[in-house]
């Protein structure tokens, strides 16, 4: 599910995806889990000296079905997106939106504090903010 194309019926898009994955294989990746682009939900990760912030673009997901876990320095976001089923006499002209179960994994830096987590779902974006350990925060050292 990580590599689901937006246009699964489009052969050219599939070839394009394969090509991208091949190219990624030749590049140095900082993460053993790779960069699953094209997955659902799309993710942005950023940080400040106080926190690590993960934004998962998961529109139309019931927040109650979202499962966020931190275990051994790995953050997992899982859930299911159910779409309205078209009626029997309906014709589907375009079908690009993701449907079904999803699961994405992010490796966290060593200095995060798994007990200081805050998760919010707003406008279809799940924001997870994880505090960094006090001891890891920058301190000013006075020079005598």
């Amino acid at each position: 599910m990580m590599y689901r194309s937006l246009f699964p019926r489009d052969v050219l898009a599939e070839l394009n995806r394969l090509q991208r994955e091949m190219q990624q294989g030749f590049h140095l990746s900082p993460n053993i889990r790779g960069i699953a682009r094209g997955g659902f939900p799309a993710m942005n990760v950023g940080g400040t000296p106080q926190s690590v912030d993960i934004y998962a673009f998961a529109p139309g997901v019931d927040p109650a079905t979202l499962d966020v876990q931190i275990e051994k320095g790995v953050l997992t976001v899982a859930g299911e997106r159910k779409l309205e089923q078209p009626g029997e006499d309906a014709t589907v002209h375009i079908d690009e939106r993701f449907a079904g179960r999803f699961r994405r994994v992010v490796t966290l830096p060593d200095d995060v504090d798994p007990s200081a987590v805050d998760a919010k779902y707003r406008d279809g974006v799940l924001r997870i903010s994880i505090g960094r350990k006090q001891s890891a925060q920058p301190r000013r050292i006075t020079i005598e």
């Binding site: 937006l6 991208r20 960069i35 682009r37 094209g38 997955g39 659902f40 939900p41 799309a42 993710m43 942005n44 990760v45 950023g46 940080g47 400040t48 000296p49 106080q50 926190s51 912030d53 934004y55 673009f57 998961a58 529109p59 139309g60 997901v61 779409l83 309205e84 078209p86 009626g87 006499d89 309906a90 014709t91 589907v92 002209h93 375009i94 079908d95 690009e96 939106r97 993701f98 779902y121 707003r122 406008d123 279809g124 974006v125 924001r127 903010s129």
Partner: protein, 124 residues
Amino acid sequence: MSDNSPVTKQATGEEAALLPPVDVIEDASGITLYADLAGVPKDKLHLQVEADTLTIEGEIDLEMPEGIEASHSEVSVSRYRRVFTLSKELDATRVGAEFKNGVLKLSIPKAEHAQPRKVEIKVV
């Protein structure tokens, strides 16, 4: 990284924009369009019907801590834009729009008499 974005970008001749994924379903009463516009608050979603062109535009507005530095970004453009051409039998004056949790649902009924008109759609 632009060609690796999960959402394809559409060259509009203006600034770069994300092409939101959509589902378009037609039944006897009309067309229903769903568009994924994650991160767009209601006041930054703009819908417009002009002649037979439907334009969906939205600006992503995320709450971000001060001084944040991105380490990995799959959504690197903060604007969505997608344009559709409506066919004549659709009544663009009676488009219904719902926007919830980043998903836009547009209901475009079929017209009894096709009459081209310019309309501004306000999201309720």
